[in-house]
Symmetry: C2
Subunit: 159 residues, 2 copies
Amino acid sequence: MKDKIIHAIQDEYEEDFAHCYGCGRLNEKGLHFRTGWLGDQTVTIFKPQEEHSAIPGFVYGGIIASFIDCHGTGSAALALHREKGYEPGDKVAPPRFVTARLHVDYLKPTPQDSPLRAIGRLEKLHPKRWKVHTEVFAGESLCAKGYVEAVVMPDTFKI
Amino acid sequence: MKDKIIHAIQDEYEEDFAHCYGCGRLNEKGLHFRTGWLGDQTVTIFKPQEEHSAIPGFVYGGIIASFIDCHGTGSAALALHREKGYEPGDKVAPPRFVTARLHVDYLKPTPQDSPLRAIGRLEKLHPKRWKVHTEVFAGESLCAKGYVEAVVMPDTFKI
């Protein structure tokens, strides 16, 4: 299993869209989730920091929800970008999605001492709305699963 | 509408359970969500910081998910504590819940410049499992709604 994303979609979001607390490369205090292709699935990798605990030793559920959230919007952006003929690394600004719906089932306590991997499977609901089914692993252990319904960012989000 | 929680359940969690990134009073880098009663509903109030953006000016969905998450576990703890005859402020250690399921529907972009309020309605599914239906407001505007299914912390969570 790869342990680092080489070409992440978040590396190529336009600057105005790169300040997300979850995945914005320009948010200095953010989590810096980065999402790339893994065959026809998607992957995001994250090493929780000490403060990201529920109780010491176990990852906070809100961090897992955030991980699934940005993995979902990033995966949807990867998918629509590919439909248009582009891949991360092509230096073409990708589409930017936002989250309409997020669901997480916490299956077992998630240990804090190993990197987390989110693995996504894409389902196209509409040309501008994608559902990303995601499993979160700590090592080989499936700790959470969920989905995001992501939509192309509406004009109401723009300042 | 009150703008500060006087007696929050998180103020009285036992020290081992007070390190949560979302609501732990002993987590120096955490978000410090605090949840109290509002009649027979529950309320949590949070002022997002500048870094908690999706894009500048709007709150990140993962922060909203985290807000609903800890509001849910805190609300369930309030409810079970009350069932046992206690209220926050009584200086009796309350039960500690964890999240089994989290669902969020993002209804509109959430502006970052005003405090958020989560308002919870409790549904008892089982003596140790509660569902907390939550609406998130920025000012008077309903921006997100969702629910948490919270369970009394299982032994597998203890180190």
